[in-house]
Amino acid sequence: MDIDHDTLVGFAKSWGLFYFIAFSICVVIYAFWPSNRKRFDDAKRNILDGDDRPWQ
């Protein structure tokens, strides 16, 4: 099969969309995975420590 303009456009229009859907599902799973809750909570609070030295 020749790779011409229409093939590329067709590919872009279909697989681009599937890729996007798969990608967003992964991101949502990651963000709402129950065991991640603690990490995220720690992360958002830890930056408020007034620490001014690197941890050794």
Binding site: F20, F23, F40, D52, P54
Partner: protein
């Protein structure tokens, strides 16, 4: 700056600077009949004077081993100073060019002072000079604090910061001489672009190695945004600037992209420079300095993750909305429009996240001008992303494109969002970085805030008016079915708005000068915070809140 370097570091620095100097000599020699030669001399002077600076302190005492138990703040301090210097330069050029549109004879009878050459000095000065230095400085600050690790290098942070500034100097001096690729926001010629690649790869490696040193298990979300900014800007910069110089001794080059391909590549770059330079990097500032200043954790960390991936994914598609109704294939225009509208979701998620973080602390927003800077930035971020999605819709774009509305939109983002978040971050950063009790004058922060708000509003409203008026005049028909206005009619109608815009810009420039003075005096005159409390780990309070309760 040399005190923190060991003898080995100092030697390495001298070798690098010698190399820069030699490259400068070579450029000056092969380009002696060309602007390239002038740039060679600039590179020589840059490398030579820095080398002299290092030589002068070469035999000073070496740092003790415990330097590694401190954060590396010297490059950040220099970065703050450079940010302010570029802010004043870039904004001054903006006011000058704005005034030229109202009073065209405000130029000398020489090429360097005409609008066409000055405009890129303004855009490069503010985007790369002001914005870029602010991003580099704050990224060094944030990545160390959130990773609890010192920067992974002693010389490389300086190389990144000063190398980037050399790029900016080459770019801006080139525009005065007429050296330009004409690619918007990527005007610098091939040799400056090559140099930026070297600097940027170093930046990338430095950032990655610092993250690898982290003691926190999780990478804080602000670093994600900085990382996306560094990685994607590298891709954009390289692809957009692929070019063939006409000879190694000349500045002129021809881009490998032609015609319609070039249009897509340019606006793929142009729009994503907005996305990953002017949005992702500054969202990183928002996600760190907002919680720190407000002393409240971010409203929803999950939301920040979702919007991160949303922005990273969607933005790349949006560039073609700059090319509606042009010779670009129709389906590409439609893709650009669709994704631009979808972009509103992650953008508003970020803006909403920021505002909800402040919910419950409105009294602090009222009392603390610094926090108000950050608050206004979040509001303008929400407004201008909405406006952007709206303008990307084809029929709206038919009216808005080519008019001042675009300019107004850009400045709603650049002044209202980028500059406000930067100044809010700087006012948070400076006292803690120099370990001062507080800013020199909270009143001047307040003055700056109101100058900046007034300047932004005047600017944006005059450009909205002029842009929409212009767009409507171009497409108004008489009853007989002929065009009602000549182009000249529309130009004449613009003059009052051009004057108002220059005035708004002037107010904003004055605000930046006030900020520079205030920060300078903070470093010079405000006593060091008492008791070294800033140095004690886990005191439970951020130093700046202890130091500046009322500001």
């Amino acid at each position: 700056m040399v005190q923190q370097l060991t003898t080995g570091d100092r030697q390495n620095t001298l070798v690098i600077l010698l190399f820069v100097f030699v490259v400068g000599v070579a450029m000056a020699a092969v380009g002696r009949f060309d602007p390239l030669g002038v740039h060679g001399v600039i590179v020589m002077l840059f490398g030579g004077s820095l080398a002299a600076l290092v030589m002068r302190s070469y035999y000073e005492r070496e740092p003790t081993q415990d330097r590694l138990s401190h954060y590396y703040d010297d490059p950040i301090k220099a970065g703050v100073a450079l940010t302010l210097a570029w802010a004043i330069f870039g904004m001054f050029m903006g006011v000058w060019t704005a005034a030229q549109l109202a009073w065209p004879d405000l130029a000398f009878d020489a090429g360097w002072s005409t609008f066409g050459r000055l405009r890129p000095t303004h855009t490069t000065g503010v985007i790369f000079g002001f914005g870029g230095n602010a991003l580099i400085a704050t990224s060094f600050h944030v990545v160390q604090r959130t990773s609890r690790a010192r920067l992974a290098g002693q010389v490389s942070p300086w190389f990144v910061l000063l190398g980037f500034n050399l790029f900016c100097i080459l770019a801006v001096t080139g525009y005065f001489m007429g050296v330009t690729q004409s690619k918007e926001y990527a005007e610098a010629e091939w040799y400056a672009d090559l140099w930026l690649v070297v600097v940027w790869v170093t930046y990338f490696v430095l950032f990655l190695r610092t993250l690898a040193r982290r003691k926190e298990p999780h990478i804080y979300v602000a670093n994600w945004y900085y990382m996306a900014f560094i990685v994607v800007v590298a891709i954009l910069h390289i692809v957009n600037n692929l070019a063939l110089p006409i000879s190694l001794g000349q500045a002129k080059s021809y881009t490998i992209w032609a015609g319609v391909q070039d249009s897509m590549v340019q606006w793929w770059y142009g729009h994503n420079a907005v996305a990953f330079f002017l949005t992702a990097g500054f969202l990183a500032m928002l996600y760190y300095y907002l919680p720190v200043r407000a002393q409240r954790p971010i409203f929803s960390y999950r939301l920040s993750i979702l919007s991160f991936w949303g922005i990273t994914f969607f933005y790349m598609w949006a560039g073609s909305h700059h090319l509606h109704y042009t010779a670009l294939p129709h389906w590409v225009q439609n893709l650009g429009m669709t994704f631009s509208v979808m972009l509103l979701v992650p953008s508003w998620a970020s803006a909403g996240n920021a505002l909800l973080t402040l919910n419950g602390a409105w009294h602090r927003v009222r009392d603390d001008a610094t926090l108000r800077f950050i608050f206004v930035a979040a509001v303008f971020y929400g407004l201008s992303t909405f406006e952007g999605s709206f303008m990307a819709i084809r029929p709206v774009n038919a009216l808005s494109h080519y008019t001042d509305w675009t300019v107004g939109h850009v400045h709603a983002g650049a002044l209202g969002w980028v500059a406000f978040i930067t100044f809010g971050s700087l006012y948070t950063l400076v006292p803690s970085l120099w370990k001062r009790e507080r800013m020199y004058s909270p009143a001047l922060v307040e003055v700056h805030f109101w100058l900046a708000v007034a300047g932004t509003l005047i600017y944006v409203f005059s450009m909205w008016n002029s842009g929409i008026l212009q767009g409507l005049m171009w497409r108004t028909y008489t009853q007989e079915g002929t065009l009602a206005y000549s182009f000249l009619d529309s130009l004449v109608a613009m003059y009052p708005y051009y004057i108002a815009r220059a005035f708004g810009g002037l107010l904003f420039l004055l605000g930046a000068i006030v900020a520079a003075y205030n920060i300078w005096m903070t470093v010079r005159a405000v006593p060091v915070a008492a008791g070294g409390q800033a140095d004690v780990p886990d005191s439970g309070l951020a130093p700046n809140t202890v130091a500046t309760p009322a500001e």
